[in-house]
Amino acid sequence: MEKILELKKLKKHYPIHGGVLRRQLNSVKALDGIDLTINRGECIGIVGESGCGKTTTGKAVIKLHKSTDGQIIYYPKAEPGGIDITRLSRSQVRKIGLTGKMQMVFQDPTTSLNPRMLIKNIIAEPMLAKGGFTAGQRHEKVLELLNLVGLTKDHLLRYPHEFSGGQRQRIAVARAIATNPELIVLDEPTSALDVSVQAQILNLLKKLKDEFNLTYIFITHHLLVVKYISTRIVVMYLGKIVETADTQSLFAHPLHPYTFALFSGIPSTDAKDISNRIVLKGDVPSPIDPPQGCRFHTRCPFSINLCEQVEPALEPAKDNLDHKVACHRKDEVPDLIQDVYKKDAVKNQFAFK
């Protein structure tokens, strides 16, 4: 498989200033060293609770903010060697032809569309920024894009407030694909929408991905959405990747206790699925001062002494090399969970309290 992007030890710390001289007192470790390879044409889903660094990853990838440390390496089709884009300036990015190759769709379409711009201008704006299109070409392309996302040319001369939430998100998607990007970061694109509209948008995204061979980074907290759309899933916890695998094997055999707890927490509409669940105790610790050792040990039901001292590395599981997990007890966890469920047969419900 062909790589498109590689993140190496990527870090993003937000400084906290204080005191009389506004010195930097501490920092929020939103992203604390993640390694990730993204292949062309795949849809990688990033899941986790709020504050775990999902959005920070997305923003760092498309260089919406400067990362503190680490590398982002972009592999264009022509140049298999890859280019380090972490420290490139805007003009350098333009020079290597990266402008418009990576786009983002934001969570709330109401705030991501300028209320004072017409739809045709909103969709044409990325093409203006990229340059090299005549007015006629832009207009034609806008019409084509509107058709693609299921809107008509009657909508061209309207303002965002005249549309419903789902239609606005369609416009945001049209804007993102205007410059024929290779990679789109979708930051919770369906969280602000109703279920029936969510299904429309998800199907639209799937269709576009197949049509233009796009690569998606799909950020969400909704596990069933990510299961539906993604080919590979990355589970994050407190600025670190705890588990990554392709969708099928992750849902079939989660190895990290956190992933397991996340899955068992999904409220399901299927009556047969209501079963035993692991309810985690407490809340996510503060990313200003993350726990020593494994970051999950404060809430982990299977934590041992080793977990409190040594931070586990992201290593492949024994039977599947693509399934990587950061846990000291990764080989035992499925058995441990089985044990818990055996107890459930008697107690019917088990909660780690």
Binding site: S164, Q200, L202, L224, Y228, G265, T269
Partner: protein, 385 residues
């Protein structure tokens, strides 16, 4: 099963500049004693307006125009209960937060940022149980039930407590409230109530409750705040708890904690009946006994959760269930074509007919009445007439 809440033909309209928004169009359902009723639907379908109408806190351009809301707090008497819409505002004030409590969606907005957690929970006690606390302080309470554990008051103020107990609206009390040093004469009431809130927080599984009561909302995380909101709602032991999207803004693991807590409280008989509003069908499936599906101000289907999820009758319920990604998703998601109608000019007849695959000529003219298709399963659709 007797009904704790029986709603008949509830109509609520909003008089906006664009026209009359017909938010509720003859909604009827009932909540059984000791059960959890779920109300689901997309945004703008009138779920929140329904419960706000029950509590009579519909916001300004909204007017409750018709219908009956029968509320019968006791499970054994066979009476029809009191019609809340015929009661005075004074009566409702006493009822809200006392017999019926409500939890709102956003814990940040529901909590006062400049009051400590303890004060906020105690507020409910002081408002609804002031007399009981004062009796306890004065030693008049002979029930022996240790409702409020710590009792100590400045003996100088004892006459004032007597006055407050027998004539709560006396002029002297009003006057004293204006005197700087005497203003807080009834501090003992607040302190007793805070002691009680510590106990309550402990039952809700909050660690270090005696520390938490002196903290402010910004010190707590989202899940903890929602627990505090639940504590406030439970302070005066309501018989009906209304949870309006109580878990929608929380993370999956925290949502699981809160849902678990609600189930646990029901098991321990701390709450008897819950009216749960949500847009998440999964949450309904996990927590509710009966469920009502709403669409554009109408109730389209009511039934037991197991029946309704396994065997949905109404085309909208079916479509809604199909559009949710499932754990065992096979094939593509089916979405519902089109958009939710504008409620200023809702479609004639069944409000779902423009998006419905089974629409007949009849659907476009007259609204279908609720028909019983099965034991405790009602549908408003001509397919089953």
């Amino acid at each position: 099963m007797t009904h704790i809440l029986d709603i008949k033909d509830l109509v609520t309209n909003f008089y906006t500049y664009e026209g009359v928004v017909k938010a509720l169009n003859k909604v009827s359902f009932h909540v059984n004693h000791g059960s959890t009723f779920g109300l689901v639907g997309e945004s703008g379908c009138g779920k929140s307006v329904t419960v706000r109408s029950i509590m009579q806190i519909v916001q300004s351009p909204g007017v409750i125009e018709g219908g009956e809301i029968h509320f019968s707090p006791d499970s054994d008497n066979g009476e029809t209960g009191i019609d809340l819409l015929k009661q005075t505002e004074r009566f409702m004030q006493d009822l809200r937060g006392n017999k019926i409590s409500m939890i709102f969606q956003e814990p940040n907005a529901a909590l006062n940022p400049i009051m400590t957690i303890g004060e906020q929970i105690a507020e409910s006690y002081v408002f609804h149980r002031k007399n009981q606390i004062i009796e306890k302080i004065l030693g008049l309470d002979r029930t022996g039930e240790n409702l409020f554990p710590k009792v100590s008051a400045n003996p100088l103020f004892l006459p004032l407590y007597h006055l407050a107990l027998h004539r709560p609206d006396a002029f002297l009390l009003e006057l004293i409230k204006k005197v700087p040093f005497l203003r807080n004469w009834d501090r003992a009431v607040l302190h007793t109530a805070i002691e009680k809130s510590v106990e309550l927080l402990a039952t809700l599984g909050i660690p270090n409750p005696d520390k938490i009561v002196h903290q402010y909302p910004h010190n707590l995380s989202g899940g903890m705040k929602q627990r505090v909101v639940i504590a406030i709602a439970l302070a005066s032991e309501p018989v009906l708890l209304i949870a309006d999207e109580a878990t929608s803004n929380l993370d999956v693991t925290v949502q699981a904690q809160i849902l678990d807590l609600l189930k646990d409280l029901k098991k321990k008989n701390i709450i008897s009946s819950i009216l749960l509003i949500t847009h998440d069908l999964g949450v309904v499936n996990e927590t509710c006994d009966r469920v009502g599906v709403m669409y554009a101000g109408n109730l389209c289907e009511v039934g037991k959760v197991t029946d309704l999820f396994e065997n949905p009758k109404h085309p909208y319920t079916k479509a809604l269930l199909d559009s949710v990604p499932k754990i065992r998703q096979i094939g593509d998601l089916k979405s519902i074509a089109g958009n939710v109608p504008n409620l200023v000019n809702p479609p004639l007849g069944c409000r779902f007919h423009p998006r419905c695959g089974h629409a007949m000529a009849k659907c476009k003219e007259v609204f279908p009445e609720m028909t019983i298709v099965d034991d405790d399963h009602e549908v408003a659709c001509y397919l089953y007439h």
